[in-house]
Each structure stands twice: as structure tokens, then as C-alpha cells.
């Protein structure tokens, strides 16, 4: 709604509808709803263990063995991923993925060129494949020599760039970035962020960017999704979410940013911990740490409330209960 007005980009590329992920005992994701449009960067923000990475892995259907999608639908363009069984044709070709720790996501035994090459889905000769790889390496900001390098010979930033090259070799429409900068130092990380932003226009790419860092999310993305304990607590335009957070959790997250404090001040943290999935509170999952806690918070899970083109799930803004 708001985004279409702002940027004029209409076409939906990914629609996640009421997704539940888990098994008989635990539910990792509950009622996840969002959509990604063409050339849009969507960030998913939250603490560790909120189910951010699981959301990505549910989209590409690479969940750990003991978890599965229990309910809901995921559409990639018009393809219903949740009922599609030939994911090999989609992975890498239409949806690329990059990971947190590039060094462990690259096979140590093979050269970068060799590993990028195995992702190429087109039926072309060896020479053309190599040309293609060298071209993409240049675009990504690596020297063509990297083709012959082994992963351990590269620095963390170069490895992450190589991973990006691997993910983009087939010109996918959607890139899933699972905390791609967490393991990198600040300068390298900003290089990668800038690269990702540039790639959006070069490759007509949409990105789902998972991060802990809400200020980074605001910088990179059009839309921010804040997750807590497997549910989306707030979702909306990134400027709005960052400058005027509605959900108490988002407010506290932003309050934790070091740049909000002067030198002598003590940085506030959110007290308590993310509840474990085996031991979720009965009502709103954030109720254990929330200062606005009311009685209803412990009894019911809040439903989606639309405020200023944003969606927030909190009883502070009205008593809408999740159906």
C-alpha cells in the first residue's frame, strides 16, 4: 500500500501467507505474513533466536530435518512454493542465498571458480562458463584471479563477495541474505552493504536482508519487519519504523543502539531473554519483558493492527486478538 504509493513498484515477487513452522512439540514461526516486491529490500530484524533465519530457510525450503512448514502458503511470483517439489530448479536459479559465515559456507577443497561454476544452470560450454564467472567476479569487485583461489586464501570480505557471486550467477530475482555482514569488520561490511544496494538496480533484484542491527536495516532497506519469538511484531516502511517505533520491542531495540547515548551514559539493554521455543508464554510472547504489560497480554496473543500504513501487534493500540 504505502510502498506502491511511494516508489510505484507494484509487482509482488514473494508472498508469505500465514506461515507456521515447527513440529509436534514446538512452533518456531507463527503466522508470518509479508510480501516482497520487485527491486525492494526488506529487512528482518530481531534478536538471536527470533526465527529470522528460519523464515529465510522456510522460503527456500531448506529447513532442518526436524522442522517443517505446518500451515500457510508461500508464493514465489505465481508458483506455490509450499506445494512445489522440485526446489532444485528454483534454488540458485530464481532465489539465491548468502550466509553469515562465508568461510564455512564455502567448500575448502575447491577453487572459487569451480564452486561458482557448479551453480550455473544454463547449458553452456566450459569457456563461456568461465567468461561468465570472470564477468560476475569483476562486477562484484573481485579480481579475476580469485577464480583460481581456494576459499582459505581469501579474506572474509572477499569470501562473502564470492558467495554473492555464487548466489547471483544465474541472475536470480530474489536474494536471501542471512546476516551477511555479521562476521565481517565494519569497513568490509559497509562495502558489502553498498554492493548489495548497487546490485538491486543492476540485477533487478529483490533482497530479504536478515540482521540484528536495526540502524543498518533502516539504512539498507525499504521495509523493516521486526520479529520476536517467531511472530512479526511490527512491520512497515523503514523510516517510519525507525523514527517512530510503535511496538514496545522495537522501541527497546532502538533504545539499545550505542549511537543514542553520550560517552558517560550507560547503554540500556532489554532485560530478560527471548523465551525459548519450548517454553513460550501463553499470551503475547513479549509480555515477559514488556513494561506496558496488561492483563490481556498474558492471556491472548495480539492480532494485527494497522496504524499509519504500518502493522503492529500490541494490545497497547487496541484489543484486537489473534484469530
Amino acid at each position: 500500500m504505502f510502498l506502491t504509493q511511494k516508489t510505484g513498484k507494484m509487482e509482488k515477487i514473494l508472498t508469505v501467507k500465514n506461515i507456521f513452522v515447527g513440529n509436534e512439540e514446538i512452533k518456531i514461526l507463527r503466522n508470518i505474513n509479508f510480501e516482497v516486491r520487485k527491486k525492494e529490500i526488506v529487512s528482518i530484524v530481531g534478536e538471536s533466536g527470533c526465527g529470522k533465519s528460519m523464515t529465510l530457510r522456510a522460503i527456500i525450503k531448506l529447513l532442518p530435518k526436524n522442522l517443517k512448514i505446518l500451515n500457510g502458503e508461500i508464493f514465489f511470483e505465481n508458483l506455490k512454493i509450499t506445494e512445489y517439489n522440485e526446489m532444485e530448479k528454483i534454488r540458485g536459479k530464481r532465489i539465491g542465498m548468502i550466509f553469515q559465515e562465508p568461510s564455512s559456507y564455502l567448500n575448502p577443497l575447491f577453487t572459487i571458480g569451480n564452486q561458482i561454476e557448479e551453480g550455473i544452470k544454463e547449458n553452456i560450454g566450459k569457456k563461456e562458463k568461465k567468461e561468465k564467472i570472470v564477468k560476475i567476479l569483476k562486477e562484484i569487485g573481485l579480481s579475476p584471479d580469485v577464480y583460481y583461489s581456494y576459499p582459505h586464501q581469501l579474506s572474509g570480505g572477499m569470501q562473502q563477495r564470492a558467495m554473492i557471486a555464487m548466489a547471483l550467477i544465474n541472475n536470480p530475482d530474489l536474494l536471501l541474505a542471512d546476516e551477511p555482514t555479521t562476521a565481517l569488520d565494519v569497513t568490509t561490511a559497509s562495502g558489502i552493504i553498498k554492493l548489495l544496494k548497487d546490485l538491486v538496480s543492476i540485477y533487478n533484484l529483490s533482497i530479504i536482508f536478515v540482521t540484528h542491527d536495526i540502524s543498518l536495516a533502516k539504512y539498507i532497506s525499504d521495509k523493516i519487519i521486526v520479529m520476536y519469538a517467531g511472530i512479526i511484531v511490527e512491520k512497515g516502511n523503514s523510516e517510519q519504523v525507525y523514527n517512530n517505533p510503535l511496538h514496545p520491542y522495537t522501541q527497546k531495540l532502538i533504545n539499545c543502539l550505542p549511537e543514542k547515548y553520550s560517552k558517560r551514559e550507560r547503554i540500556k539493554t532489554i532485560e530478560g531473554e527471548v523465551p525459548s521455543f519450548k517454553n513460550l508464554p501463553y499470551g503475547c510472547p513479549f509480555s515477559t519483558r514488556c513494561e506496558y504489560k496488561k492483563r490481556i497480554c498474558e492471556e491472548k496473543i495480539p492480532g494485527e493492527i494497522v496504524i499509519e500504513n504500518r502493522i503492529v501487534r500490541c494490545f497497547k493500540y487496541g484489543n484486537i486478538v489473534e484469530s
Binding site: 527456500i60 531448506l62 526446489m87 532444485e88 530448479k89 528454483i90 534454488r91 540458485g92 536459479k93 539465491g96 542465498m97 550466509f99 559465515e101 564455512s104 559456507y105 564455502l106 567448500n107 575448502p108 577443497l109 575447491f110 557448479e118 551453480g119 544452470k121 581456494y150 582459505h152 558467495m163 555464487m166 548466489a167 536471501l176
Partner: protein
């Protein structure tokens, strides 16, 4: 391959040398028909327990001969096997000398051999009690002793990879059943299992049947431990993040197994292969030593040694009978060095 050798040379010169020694030994074994001066079963009745022949360049008058020569030797005391050199009789050594007709590599007939003497005898490592040339027998014995290692290792690695790979990758019930089977094999002490398996079969088999039997027995013992290790490696590698990344990249399951999982076990398994070959050579030697392996007159390093056992006179008066033992030692130590070197070299993190 070339770059591996180059790295081996720079990294571990010992194992680089071992590699070439092993190649040389295999070459000797293959070309045994051509290199050995006499057939393995040729008995020189006049020369039992003859000591190694010395090769000379200077005769007893201190005259230099460009062509190396041996003196003719004569048995002087048949009871004590004492020999004497006939100083007048000089027998020069020639290349490509004419000898008995033999088939080379089982394909073509030849009368000429790499080296030999026209008159007199040349026994580089002496002779055994029946007057057979030990050098020739070692070359022929190498065929059995060296090939048993390679064939046995390939059979047991085939089963090790297959069983270990299946149970590691699929896990669950299959894993449980296969691993219990492996444990049954590992439970028995290898040596007694080997003996009892051999005892099940009759003794009067042809030498080729015995050869096959030994290979099968040895690899039957060898595969279990390997399967267990491969399974463990596959179990851990399939959880590696680069396997997940490959799946996210849309690589097929088949390609993942053969490109990401199996090659990552190589750093261990190639080393294990080279390190387990000596076990097979020793196993064959042990069986032959106990008279259960390759039967006379066919030579293997093990059964050549077995003649010396229990014969103290041989050990004290004819120590050259122990040369096969030296070759077993050489092969095993070379394979061990090579395995050590390969382990360092094959790990890309060390490049």
C-alpha cells in the same frame, strides 16, 4: 597429479623419495620376466645356499676391466655348503644376454634378459636351499606381495565407501543395521579371523585360487573399520554449512554426495589407503609364513621367509635368505612415509 608430486617434493622429501621407490618396486614386479636372470623355479642343484655373487671391476692381478665381471664359483664342501672362487675363470656380465626361453608379461616370447653372464652364474642375493636364485624369486614374489596390497585395499575401500557412505548419508534404521554388522566383523581379533577363514577352505587349491582367497580374506577383515570411519565422516560432513550452501545453490543430491561429501573424506581416506597397504602385505606374508598362503614353488615374500623360520642353520650361515624381509620392510616403510606426506599435501589449507 604433477602439482601434487611437486608439493610432495618441497614439503616432505622423504615421502617424495618413497613414492619413487614404490614406483620402482612395482616396475620391477611388472618386468620381473625380463629383469630376473633366471626363472623363479629354476633349480641349480650344484649351488645350494650359495652366497651372493660379488661383482668385480678389478681382477686378482689388479687389472681393470671396463665390463664388470663375476668369478666362477665352485662348491668345495657340499656338507657345509662352502664355496670357493675360481680365480682363473672370469665371467663378464652382459646386457641383453641370451637365456632360457620365457614369456614376458605373458604376451611375447623372449630369449634375452636384461643382464646375465654367458658362463658361470650370477646370484645377486645368493641362492636358497634348492639352488634357486633369490633375486629372481624376489622379483616374482613382488608380483604377489605388491599386488595383494593394491587389490585388497581397493576391494575393502569399495565396500568401506559403499557401506559407510550409505549408512552415514541415510542414517536411521539402515545405519543401525549396517553398523551392527560392521561391529560383528570388528569384534573378532583380525589374526584369528584370518586363520579360521583360511582353515575353512581346503589346502590343496591352485596357487591362483589361493591368491584370490587371500585377497578376499584380507579385504573382508579390512573393510569394517574403514566403513565405520567413512560413516562418521559422512555424518559430520553432510551437516557442514557448505553442503547447505550447495543445496541453497540448487545443486542436486547426487552432485552434493560426489562433489562435496566424498572428496572431503579423501584427506583421510587417501592416507588411510596408503597406510593400510602394508597391513595387506604383512597379512599375506603372515599367511604364507604359516604355510597357509602361496605355496611353493611359487614365490611370495612371505613364503620365502617362511623357509628360514625354524632353521637356525640358515639364519647363521646363510643370512641372505632373509632379503625378502628387507623388501617387506622397505615397501612398508615407503608406503608409510608416502601416506604421511600425502596427508599433509592433500589438505588444501597447507598449500
Amino acid at each position: 597429479m604433477k602439482s601434487i608430486l611437486k608439493r610432495l617434493k618441497n614439503k616432505n622429501f622423504f615421502s617424495y623419495c618413497s613414492f619413487w621407490i614404490i614406483i620402482f618396486l612395482y616396475f620391477l614386479a611388472i618386468m620381473a620376466d625380463f629383469i630376473s636372470p633366471y626363472p623363479y623355479n629354476k633349480q641349480f642343484r650344484d649351488y645350494p645356499l650359495c652366497p651372493p655373487t660379488r661383482i668385480h671391476f678389478f681382477d686378482h692381478n689388479k687389472n681393470f676391466h671396463l665390463r664388470p665381471f663375476v668369478y666362477e664359483i665352485k662348491l668345495v664342501n657340499p656338507a657345509l655348503n662352502q664355496y670357493e672362487i675360481v680365480k682363473e675363470k672370469i665371467c663378464p656380465i652382459y646386457f641383453f644376454v641370451k637365456g632360457e626361453k620365457r614369456k614376458i608379461l605373458g604376451i611375447f616370447n623372449s630369449e634375452r634378459y636384461l643382464f646375465g653372464t654367458k658362463e658361470g652364474k650370477i646370484f645377486l642375493f645368493g641362492t636358497d636351499m634348492h639352488g634357486r636364485d633369490i633375486f629372481s624369486r624376489i622379483l616374482y614374489g613382488a608380483r604377489i606381495s605388491l599386488s595383494i596390497g593394491i587389490i585388497g585395499v581397493s576391494i575393502s575401500f569399495f565396500f568401506g565407501f559403499l557401506i559407510g557412505g550409505i549408512s552415514g548419508y541415510f542414517g536411521g534404521k539402515i545405519d543401525n543395521i549396517l553398523m551392527r554388522l560392521v561391529e560383528i566383523f570388528m569384534m573378532f581379533p583380525a589374526f584369528y579371523l584370518m586363520l579360521s577363514l583360511r582353515a575353512v577352505f581346503p589346502l590343496n587349491l591352485s596357487s591362483f585360487q589361493i591368491y584370490l582367497l587371500i585377497v578376499i580374506i584380507l579385504s573382508l577383515i579390512g573393510w569394517a573399520g574403514l566403513a565405520r570411519i567413512i560413516r562418521g565422516m559422512v555424518l559430520s560432513i553432510k551437516e557442514e554449512e557448505y553442503v547447505l550452501a550447495a543445496r541453497a545453490l540448487g545443486v542436486s543430491t547426487f552432485k552434493i554426495i560426489f562433489k562435496h561429501i566424498i572428496p572431503n573424506t579423501f584427506s583421510y581416506s587417501i592416507t588411510a589407503i596408503t597406510l593400510s597397504i602394508p597391513g595387506y602385505i604383512l597379512g599375506e606374508s603372515t599367511l604364507s609364513l604359516l604355510g597357509l598362503g602361496i605355496q611353493e614353488p611359487y614365490p611370495s615374500w612371505g613364503n620365502m621367509l617362511s623357509v628360514c623360520i625354524g632353521n637356525l642353520r640358515v639364519l647363521s650361515s646363510a643370512p641372505w635368505m632373509l632379503t625378502p624381509g628387507f623388501f617387506i620392510f622397505l615397501t612398508i616403510i615407503c608406503f608409510n612415509f608416502l601416506g604421511d606426506g600425502l596427508r599433509d599435501v592433500l589438505d588444501p589449507k597447507n598449500w
